[in-house]
Amino acid sequence: MPTLAVVGFYEEWWIQILKAIVIFAVGLQLVPIVLLAERKLLGRMQARYGPNRVGPFGALQPLADIVKLLTKEQFRPSTSTGFLFALAPCISIVTAVAAFAIIPFGNVQHIFGTPVGLYGIDVSIGPLYLFAFGAVAFYGIMLGGWSSGSKYSFLGAMRGAAQLISYEVSQGLALVGVIFTAGTLSLTGIVEAQQGMWYIVPQFFGFLVFLVAGFAETNRAPFDLTEADAELVGGYNTEYGGGRFASYYFAEYLNVLVVSGIVTTVFLGGWLLPFGIHPPGWVDPFVVLFKMGLMTFLFIWVRATLPRLRYDQLMSFGWKILLPLATLNALVTAVLVVVTH
């Protein structure tokens, strides 16, 4: 059997399990923080306070939301397809969590004398793994919308399907330039290759294209056509309530974190600091988290600013502007890489 992927750094099985627990204990705590930060920041940008009643400064608001959603009755429309209706949010959340596994928070560190890589897993096919799960994530939205047996959900799901497919192409092509330059598909390898110069400088167009496509991939404003509240009620999750809706919501914000993490890793130099600062290894995860926070702030900021695109604008933007730009970026990078090496 041919080797499909090589894992860069192997650890004992118990370290793997411990790492998984730690990463997801931290990673999943980030989601409510992002949720609260989004609501507070959106509020401030619209000259209001945002949630400030539950706990000090509204800090317990996500907790209250989750408790409210989880204690609600599970219901579904009589026209829906039962097992798919229940399965779809699970697909969404599983793919989001799986994509989170490859974000590197630091290189191999010696913790109590044991070498541990500060990432879920370092695969030699990093971006491919990401896009594989990105492609599966679209089933979460598609099946959820379709199995609801509702027109609004169906329309939202169809839009989501078309949008995800259109923008995944540009997103992939935008990363190709980075992969050419770094000469590796491993995300830790890509970070190491950014020593001296982060890829946001030589790959600026790649960065822009990836960012815009990332907004579209996470179904965030201004590309939130799948859940265009004004016209589709709630889009693919119109018929969802309670815990299943919470899963979709959770997956959306985890996807924002994943895209922030990938942008951080691929374009913003991961755990590297500029000006030749080399802090001790334990600082690395905080550097990554800080950069992810900045990216997440950008997501929120853009949501507060830009109005939603019309569907035909979305499609023509994706295929007529973003895709040629991404292709051109990849071509020019390829030529330059060949010429300079």
């Binding site: 920041l41 509020g43 401030r44 940008m45 619209q46 000259a47 209001r48 306070y49 400030n52 900021w301 853009v302 507060a304 600013t305 830009l306 502007i321």
Partner: protein, 177 residues
């Protein structure tokens, strides 16, 4: 076509025309301008009034809940039970039953007084006609606007409730506010 067009041209832009490069630059620039605007708003103080703790101040002539008045020196009621307010009321929410003052039982300064004076605030439209109709300035509109209650019958305000010193819960708007 030249850009920007003259004052006599109404230009409707649907796509980033004219000239892809300039159009893209313009769209990008406008996006950045919008981002600057939202960022600026974020640094400002919110305009929210946190209602139950902070209340919207009212103007001096604000028409809130009615008040009945007494003479400050004698303590007699100003209302003489003439029912002009009830007659002026367009929503018919005032009920006045007059009775004669006697030397032993003197309530108001005139010949008669209001034995029953009820305002049904669930019907009142706060037009202030009662205040205008009253010949003795016995009824005026106050500043209180927090008037919700649990039952409709609780909103029928009796004479005692209207005469009682109202809770000054509503801040008055200062000059220039």
């Amino acid at each position: 076509m030249t850009w920007p067009p003259g004052d006599d041209v109404i230009q409707v832009m649907r796509t980033p025309a004219p000239g892809a490069a300039r159009g893209t630059y313009r769209a990008f620039g406008e996006t950045l301008r919008g981002m600057k605007t939202t960022f600026g708003r974020m640094l400002e103080k919110p305009v929210t009034l946190e209602y139950p703790e902070e209340k919207t101040p009212v103007y001096p002539r604000f028409r809130g809940r009615h008040k009945l008045h007494k003479f400050e020196d004698t303590g007699l009621e100003k209302c003489v039970g003439c029912s002009l307010c009830a007659a002026a009321c367009p929503s018919d929410c005032i009920r006045v039953v007059a009775a004669e003052n006697t030397p032993e039982h003197r309530v108001s300064a005139g010949e008669r007084y209001a034995e029953v004076y009820e305002i049904n605030l669930s019907r009142c439209i706060f037009c202030g006609y009662c205040e205008v109709a009253c010949p003795f300035d016995a009824i005026t509109m106050g500043h209180d606007y927090e008037l919700s209650d649990y039952t409709r019958s609780d909103l029928i305000f009796t004479k005692e409730m209207l005469l009682a010193e109202p809770l000054e819960r509503t801040p008055l708007r200062r000059e220039g506010e």
